[in-house]
Amino acid sequence: MPADQPATLAAWLRTRTDEQLGALLVARPDVARPAPSDVVGLATRLAVPVSVDRALDELDATTLQVLDAVLLSPTDGVPRAELPGLLPDVPAEVVAAGVETLTTRALLWGDDELHAPEPVRRAVRYPAGLGRRATDLRVPLPRDLPATLAELAPDERTVLDRLAGDRPVGHLPDSAAGSLTPARRLLQAGLLARIDAINVELPREIGLVLRGDQPLGPPRLRPEPEVTRRDPSVVDQQAAGSALEVLSRVTDVLTALEEEPAGLLRSGGLGVRDAKRLAKELKVGERDIAFLVEVAYAAGLLDVGGAQRDEWLPTRGYDAWREQDLTDRWAVLAAGWLTSPRLISLVGERDVAGKAVNVLSPDVVRQTAPALRRSALAVLAEFGPGEGLAAGELVQLLRWRTPRRADRLSPVPDLLAEAERLGIAAGGVLGSGGRGLLADGEDGAADGMRGLLPAPVDHVLAQPDLSLIAPGPLLADLAGTLAVVADVESSGGATVYRVSEASIRRALDSGWSASDLHDFFTRASRTPVPQALDYLVDDVARQHGRLRVGAIECYVRSDDHGLVSQVLSDRRTANAELRRLAPGVLVSGLGADEVLTVLRAAGYAPAGESSGGAVLTRPKAPARAAGRRPGSPAAAGPRPLRPEDVAATVREVRAGDAALAARRAEPVRQIPGVTTASTLELLSRAVSEGLPVWLGYVDAQGSGSQRVVQPVSLSGGFLQGFDEGRGETRTFAVHRITSVALVGPQDAPAPS
């Protein structure tokens, strides 16, 4: 190793420029928060298994293959220049790009020679789909491996070939009594290693022999999916059609919930019965209802409310939303869907207990959902306008792009279908609105969709069959009024309202007069108001209000009308707020108790009466308060890292590092329980370079000791190594290590 090459990851990080460190923080934002105190701290963070996994998860298959090439190389460092030779089928520039991606993320480090940090090695369990080494699996390999393999029976060879493919681990099939399955024969022959009761693993050496001249497997280049090409204007038209549809449907759902809210289930969702009711009212399927309700919820138009917080109700946001123009309304829905952590396609699926998942149930929250949606749509956005992918092709491409997340891709076809229903895409191609949404969120979505949705209309066409047809989306206030005086019969591009006796009565109930209605119809209709409509209004108005209903708290009655009149005119009973409803009957807005008290105080002898007319003594129940139930708070994802955050963090790391450098000379000591960054740096360097160290260690019983250890690995707060004094491999908890020093050839260890 040339002397000027940094020896550890931390040392290498120190040589990186601010821009490169910034890029690292951007690519692996989880290590940037809270800001690491110095480069060693940063290196430690980078070694955290969760962080490594997350970083690896974002890599595409080609980049992972480049990493595999380094991991599989027998020596730790691989010279950069040799790498393309290891991947003969991958173009050199692709390899170079892969290396760049990996070093930017510190998944590989080193300038001339590439090193893989230990945590990365551990995170990639089966590099290039190969098993562990035979020695690690404790399998003695046959002396002449190729010859042994050549002698295998065909069925045994098939098993081995399969395990030499993508995954070196396989299930051991149940063997019928007596006969040995090929896998079991292989196990006996020592060509497979048993790793637990049912799984076997193929040792790396055998895999490599089987693979022959492609030790890394076939090249994993970016697949060239069949691109769907369509006229961008047609795509926009169709997307706008879907957008219009979903807008009117969501409005319908919310209007229905406004009239009759749905109950909140104890488990948090919306009940099946309410979903069925909505489906019936809107004449759509229950799955459609699930989608519309979830979209409304994701957009913040629907939430738990009501006096007892036990109902699903339109939110205040809905009122504001209704006032917006169509484009903005659509943008709210689209953006809400994109960022929602809920996987709508899971609604209606059976859970482990066999119970169908309810609409709005908290069970469908998947924090990965927004990222999955975005990554799927981002793939589509990479194509030009009018170009896109069918669901199958999209999944294939995503599988290449994030192979380690391939198991999470199953919702992608559903997500794409949802995007199409929302008008974000059409036929696998992103519309202008969808592109805007991905680029600039809600505002971008609105800008992209602008001009594609029809302008609102301010009139209806009244027809003699008592239908009112709004030939387009209505202005909000007109739509609000029509919702009172008429019922929606069909919606979509236009809305068909029907005026019926019931709807007119509803309008009268809500304070309209017959002449208001006549005026409204005359004003709103562009066609002459049909005579039948005027008649209907008059007919209903004539009948309206013949019966009167009012609320009172109690009554005072007596067969003695004179007595009743006397009570009414008695000044002392003024506090009872009595009024005469009919001869012999007085009513009051006050409670029976109060009226009784007033009358008694005035010298009368009233008696309470039950609903059946029997005389009562005091009826009174203890008061109770209505209980409250907290609603499920909306989940918020982590705040994205802004460029200024990145710059600040890099500065902080640098400053911390400078401070550290000043103290570096002295050997590291540690107070038990405090793991300093330099201890870890020293240990990780010892691990990577295979240097023995002096360890001051306090065991679980509290007794201290000094030992020389040949470290093997450092992870998760534990150091594994060969304790030379005791001659065994042991695991040391890092927080119990009191001091560390390298056992240098030149300086004798100074036990402390």
């Binding site: 038209q237 957008a243 219009l244 027809q463 239908s467 030939p471 591009g493 017959a514 209907l536 007919d539």
Partner: protein, 560 residues
């Protein structure tokens, strides 16, 4: 953005703005795959149903044309999902075909193994199928042709019936077009039917459906069985056939309760065919009595359920259904489609009226206020009695008389549902009453007298709802009905729609008791008429009759 005349709704209804310059063109484009549901003044409603889409496929239209028509004429962008759904639905038709195999007889063949597999496994369908010939073909029991089509339609895989028709026994029939000609729409209807093989022609009452039947017979030139609703209607068919075709009296038989003649052309009533004795249909032999080449079903919307079952066995014969409306109160439109055939021709009433072939009609609802006594009787009546009390209120009588007085020179019909009311009206108006118990002979006599103008006013019960031919009735007054039945409304309106010799306007009055069930039912009928495109006027009895003639002033209520 294109400013088309069509708006596509989420529920797959299409709204067509009639006043739009492109509306005619658009109508022509969507008519093959969308059913006209309502045609009020400004915006017509069409509905795209799977049935309609499959009919379009049967008529040779493909999904591309349908989607193109929607996209081209739509004012707003059409949701992609809807277009995909339409294409998928249309794609279901024709996966299965019924055909005659020279070796195995009737077979069901599929181009899609999965579909055939699904169908063969369906509980509903399996019993009708025989042995499997190969992966794509399965034998069908010949007798199950109709029921199989019915069942396949229900499970969503409609079969294309290519098994063809038997020609039947040939019999020379031709139209005698002396001094008259088949109208364009009638010719189109016949052509549409003949090209499709079997199916239903929808024409308004008075538009000459009988002639369409006659022309279809002339096309078939084979023995024909005509099924009609009742004897009177059957005789009318006979008269018309003798007058308009080469057929003679001797060639036409009547198969009814009174006579059982089987001739090359036989007219049978639904009733006689569905008569059962000891649980068995006694006249089924009629269907086998001749090798019929054509079966005509008059008034398909009234076809009784047993005849559907019988029709299922007649799939190898050409079938023509005639009707004014496909609305069946029992909702069995599906059966009409799968057993008789798809709709082959349809024209909105107003279009034919505009061409002058049926009389323009003025629909007037006259509102009568009940007097206090009647209102009280009504208020305390049992719910099931209420309609009758409202419909037969005495207060209607002077109004009816006044209405009739407005048309002293016209032929007038008073139509009602309650016999005692009709008898009362007969006495009060001094007019003969025709009801169920009136003999056919007496009916014929009175109709003849009415036709000649000897009698100006007839009072008829609901027996006259169907198929009586009163060419000169210019005014109809309905006083009571069957609970707002839309079908009845169509029939009654048909009574006055036949073109008048002098092109006068027809008048259709409905006398209704205000604020009762009667007016509620009237609202149903009103909606139906408005949906058919008729202007509907409501008049107060007082305005019609002049004040003072309707008893009691209390109908001048508070408040409008």
């Amino acid at each position: 953005m294109p400013d088309g005349p069509l708006i596509v709704q989420s529920d797959k209804t299409l709204l067509l703005e009639v006043d739009h310059p492109q509306s005619k063109e658009c109508r022509a484009a969507i008519a093959p795959f969308a059913e006209l549901e309502r045609s009020p003044e400004h915006v017509h409603t069409y509905r795209v149903t799977p049935l309609a889409l499959w009919n379009a496929r049967a008529a040779g239209h493909d999904a591309e044309q349908v989607v193109d028509a929607l996209v081209r004429f739509s004012r707003y962008p059409v949701p992609h999902a809807l277009l995909v759904d339409i294409a998928d639905t249309m794609d279901r038709y024709g996966r299965l075909t019924l055909a005659n195999n020279p070796v195995h007889g009737l077979t069901l063949t599929s181009t899609d193994k999965a579909v055939l597999e699904e169908v063969v496994r369906s509980k509903r369908v399996a019993p009708m199928l025989g042995a499997r010939i190969d992966a794509d073909t399965v034998i069908v029991h010949a007798a199950e042709r109709g029921r199989l089509k019915q069942a396949l339609l229900k499970i969503g895989w409609p079969a294309e019936d290519l098994a063809g028709y038997v020609d039947g026994q040939a019999h020379p029939i031709s139209l005698a077009q002396d001094g008259w000609h088949l109208r364009d729409y009638q010719q189109e209807a016949v052509d549409g039917f003949w090209a499709g093989g079997s199916g239903v022609v929808v024409l308004p009452c008075g538009a000459g459906k009988t002639l369409v039947g006659a022309a279809a017979m002339a096309e078939a030139k084979a023995t024909t069985l005509i099924l009609v609703t009742n004897t009177v209607s059957g005789r009318q068919w006979k008269r018309e056939l003798i007058a308009r075709t080469s057929l003679t009296e001797e060639e036409i038989g009547e198969y009814s309760g009174e006579r059982k003649e089987i001739r090359p052309v036989t007219i049978a009533t639904y009733q006689v065919i569905t008569t059962r004795r000891k649980g068995e249909y006694r006249h089924l032999d009629l269907f086998d009595a001749q090798d019929w080449g054509l079966i005509v079903y008059d008034e398909v919307h009234l076809l009784p359920a047993p005849i559907f079952r019988l029709t299922a066995d007649l799939q190898s014969r050409r079938r023509l259904g005639l009707t004014a409306t496909l609305v069946r109160e029992d909702g069995r439109e599906d059966d009409v489609f799968s057993l008789i055939g798809p709709k082959r021709y349809d024209a909105p009433w107003r279009d034919i009226e505009a061409q002058g072939y049926i009389a323009p009609a003025e629909c007037i609802e006259v509102r009568v206020s009940l007097d206090d006594e009647e209102r009280m009787t009504y208020a305390v009546a049992e719910p099931e009695e209420r309609y009758k009390i409202a419909a037969t209120a005495q207060s209607k009588l002077p109004v009816i008389r006044r209405v009739l007085e407005r048309h002293p020179d016209d032929q007038k019909l008073v139509i009602g549902a309650y016999l005692d009311q009709l008898d009362e009206l007969g006495v009060a108006l001094d007019a003969p009453v025709i009801q169920g118990s009136t003999t056919n002979k007496e009916r014929e006599r009175l109709f003849q007298a009415f036709r000649t103008g000897e009698i100006k006013t007839l009072v008829v019960s609901k027996v006259a709802n169907f198929s009586i031919d009163l060419p000169e009735a210019a005014v109809a007054v309905q006083v009571s009905g069957t609970f707002g039945s839309r079908q009845e409304e169509a029939q009654r309106l048909g009574r006055v729609l036949r073109p008048k010799a002098d092109g006068r306007q027809a008048h259709f009055y409905t006398v209704v008791s205000r604020d009762t069930l009667d007016s509620e039912y009237a609202a149903h009928r009103q909606r139906f008429l408005a949906e058919q495109g008729y202007a509907y006027t409501i008049v107060d009895a007082a305005d019609l009759a002049g004040p003072g003639e309707v008893n009691g002033p209390d109908w001048v209520d508070e408040g409008a």
